[in-house]
């Protein structure tokens, strides 16, 4: 009883950001496909790539666009007076987006999960999940980007620093990711580049989706595993939207929950064609899944269609979702795999 009372608030908080973030800085080797792989070789979307190893040089922000009213991912409207020059980005996905839109030089500090692109690793770091108001204040940022708001952090940072604090929680669909990137573009003086990035992402994702739709095989059913107690993703998470765009049927769809825990027997009864493991970092493998009692009746187990995917690629609502879509397309439609 005691343990529950003590943990209750903590658990809610952790559940929120564990799933929102998907993983910490440790990158897990899970895929053989290069990030820039094109699913069908049709070449139309080959140009879009976001590679952590690449350089993302900063460009000058458009000062004429300021002051500007920016609506962040939580629906708050914040006035930004001038282009920020020392942003504290405490969200791995949004650090990637900032570099991708040419605002990398304006980022002064990041959280300890912001490991991509490589340039971000050289910046000052603060803890992502136990954000210390004091250490953020000490960085003297002129803008703060957050993906969650534990214990009134947004309000206290705003009062403490008197600078714009932008909150971008995990969006419910892919369109939400585009909106967040465009909002970041406005806030940093890179509106055009943000627009360009989302346009590129849109067409790359559309290309993957149409390649998937062109497959003669019917869309497979899929089970996406977050951990070995069968937490999964459902409607209201952008991951569900990704599977939907790829023509796959998520077996967790009927739950109507963004992050449901599925019954073991419901998974067996749903008989998914493909199983995607986002929990290889927790020791789950195709072999360990196949060895689970009763799972031998599942098509994905019988056909050896169990694939691990790096949660840093698939769970961050940023430019890398294009790579995630390409990887998933290859797993869902074997003919698309190069």
């Amino acid at each position: 009883m005691t343990i529950r009372t003590v943990f209750a608030p903590l658990i809610l908080l952790l559940a929120a950001f564990a799933f929102a973030c998907g993983g910490d800085g440790e990158s897990i080797e899970t895929t053989n496909n290069p990030a820039t792989a094109t699913p069908s070789g049709d070449g139309t979307n080959a140009e879009f790539a976001f590679d952590c190893a690449s350089d993302y040089p900063g460009t000058a922000p458009d000062g004429a666009a300021f002051p500007v009213d920016v609506t962040d991912g939580s629906g708050r409207t914040v006035t930004v007076e001038a282009p920020p020059q020392s942003i504290a980005s405490l969200s791995a996905a949004h650090t990637e987006a900032l570099f991708a839109i040419g605002a990398g030089d304006q980022v002064a500090a990041v959280d300890n999960t912001s490991d991509c692109p490589q340039a971000a690793q050289d910046l000052q770091q603060v803890d992502a999940f136990n954000v210390s108001v004091e250490s953020v204040t000490a960085l003297e940022p002129d803008m703060v980007v957050l993906f969650f708001d534990p214990g009134d952090l947004v309000t206290s940072l705003e009062q403490q620093l008197g600078v714009p604090v932008l909150l971008y929680p995990s969006p419910p669909d892919i369109d939400g990711i585009y909106r967040q990137i465009e909002s970041l573009g406005q806030a940093t003086g890179h509106t055009a580049e943000a627009q360009q990035l989302t346009t590129g992402m849109r067409s790359a994702i559309a290309a993957v989706a149409s390649a998937a739709a062109a497959e003669p095989a019917a869309g497979p059913t899929v089970y996406h595993e977050l951990d070995n107690t069968y937490f999964s993703i459902g409607p209201g998470s952008f991951l569900h939207d990704m599977y939907e765009k790829l023509g796959a049927t998520n077996i967790a769809e009927d739950t109507g929950q963004a992050f449901p825990q599925l019954s073991a027997e419901a998974i067996i009864a749903a008989n998914p064609d493909v199983i995607i493991l986002a929990d290889e970092g927790l020791g789950e493998t195709a072999e360990s899944v196949a060895a689970r009692a009763g799972w031998d009746a599942i098509a994905a187990v019988q056909d050896s269609r169990i694939y691990g995917i790096d949660p840093d690629i698939v769970s961050r609502p940023g430019p890398r979702i294009v790579e995630a879509m390409r990887l998933l397309a290859g797993y869902l439609y074997p003919e698309l795999q190069q």
């Binding site: 419901a266 060895a291 031998d296």
Partner: protein
């Protein structure tokens, strides 16, 4: 009605309206009711689930596992697996955990003479959570005879915590109940703090730690059943044999001593057996609250404080209750799961409060 009640001798049997003029009823009526409730819950647990398997197919699958019988031909592999590999171990594990938590709860309450005692009082739950958390954050993935390291670590953590608490509280060959409880609460706070710290530092595994903490039977397996049984059987046999002794222990310690009970030894033995069983149960079920505290009290309210019937009835009711709660956990939001601890509280508390209001507190405990 009121007058009638006043006229009756003040006896626990009153509460259930049993005929008092013939003296106390034997334990058999209550035991039969408990057993029936348990069998009913188990039957429902096997036949209902988020996926519908026809009753006939369920029976076929179960019967086919008897030697020499093979009647599960028309049943799909998926349905066979759901019944035999998923539902049956799940029902068994929930039953074993429920029986263990309720039995050990009743034992702790008797041994400590404290109505607030539950199986987690001297650190079993928090120790188990810490043990499991250490394994999760250290990224080792070892399995032993098909069982992951997690239950083993939880078990070790639970035992370490209990031994530590007992060691602290033992002074000069005696272990005062108050010291033991306070030491238990203190050590539990410490391990909770360490678990919280590890959880918040290790964001990748927060989900896994969260699952351990919330508990449940979604990942029940035959391996887990086989693992927990050897620790639970001794408790299920030994503790009910000590019903009379527990009755004596619930008197003042001095009186118990006069009556010829070696208080210290008996208490130590009962606590050891109960803690071992509780630790094993928690290691496979997670820390499901409430069952160990409330089920014994509910039985006590219904049947009176005599440990000779309280202990076996707590076992049966605890098993029936947790199997039913787990059934609700997988049905309420199907095909999604609801943490079973939430169900035990939501369904159990109103029932308990109803019993509490109805009871004549003078006759209680």
């Amino acid at each position: 009605m009121k007058t009638l009640e006043r006229l009756r001798p003040s006896r626990a049997a009153d509460v259930r309206g049993l005929p008092v003029s013939w003296g106390r009823p034997g334990p058999w009526p209550a035991l039969s009711v408990g057993l029936l409730a348990l069998l009913g819950a188990a039957a429902l647990g096997l036949t209902l689930g988020p996926t519908s398997v026809p009753l006939e197919a369920t029976v076929r699958v179960l019967v086919s596992h008897l030697p020499g019988i093979d009647v599960d031909q028309g049943v799909s592999v998926a349905q066979r697996n759901i019944i035999w590999d998923i539902r049956l171990p799940r029902v068994l594990l929930a039953g074993i955990a429920g029986a263990t938590l309720a039995l050990t709860g009743a034992t702790y309450q008797g041994v400590f003479r404290n109505p607030l005692a539950d199986p987690y009082l001297i650190g079993v739950a928090t120790g188990a959570a810490l043990g499991a958390t250490i394994v999760v954050v250290s990224d080792v993935s070892v399995s032993w005879h098909g069982l992951s390291l997690l239950p083993l670590a939880a078990f070790a953590g639970a035992l370490a915590s209990v031994i530590l608490v007992y060691g602290i509280a033992r002074v000069g060959g005696r272990t005062p109940a108050t010291t033991l409880i306070l030491a238990g609460v203190a050590v539990a706070s410490l391990s909770t703090a360490v678990t919280s710290y590890l959880m918040i530092k290790d964001t990748t595994n927060a989900g896994a730690i969260l699952s351990v903490t919330l508990g449940g039977f979604n990942t029940a397996s035959w391996a887990k059943v086989a693992w927990v049984v050897p620790y639970v059987i001794p408790a299920a046999i030994i503790i009910p044999m000590y019903g009379r002794v527990l009755n004596v222990l619930s008197l003042e310690e001095e009186q118990a001593r006069f009556l010829g009970v070696d208080v210290e030894r008996t208490r130590l033995m009962l606590l050891a057996v109960a803690s071992l069983a509780a630790a094993a149960a928690v290691s496979v079920s997670g820390t499901i609250g409430f069952v160990g505290l409330i089920v014994p009290h509910a039985v006590r309210l219904a049947l009176g404080p005599d440990n000779r019937r309280l202990l076996p009835l707590s076992m049966l009711s605890g098993a029936a209750f947790l199997i039913s709660a787990d059934l609700v956990a997988r049905m309420a939001d199907r095909p999604a799961e609801v943490p079973v601890g939430i169900i035990t509280a939501i369904c159990g508390v109103p029932f308990f409060l109803y019993l509490l209001r109805r009871a004549k507190l003078g006759a209680y405990f």
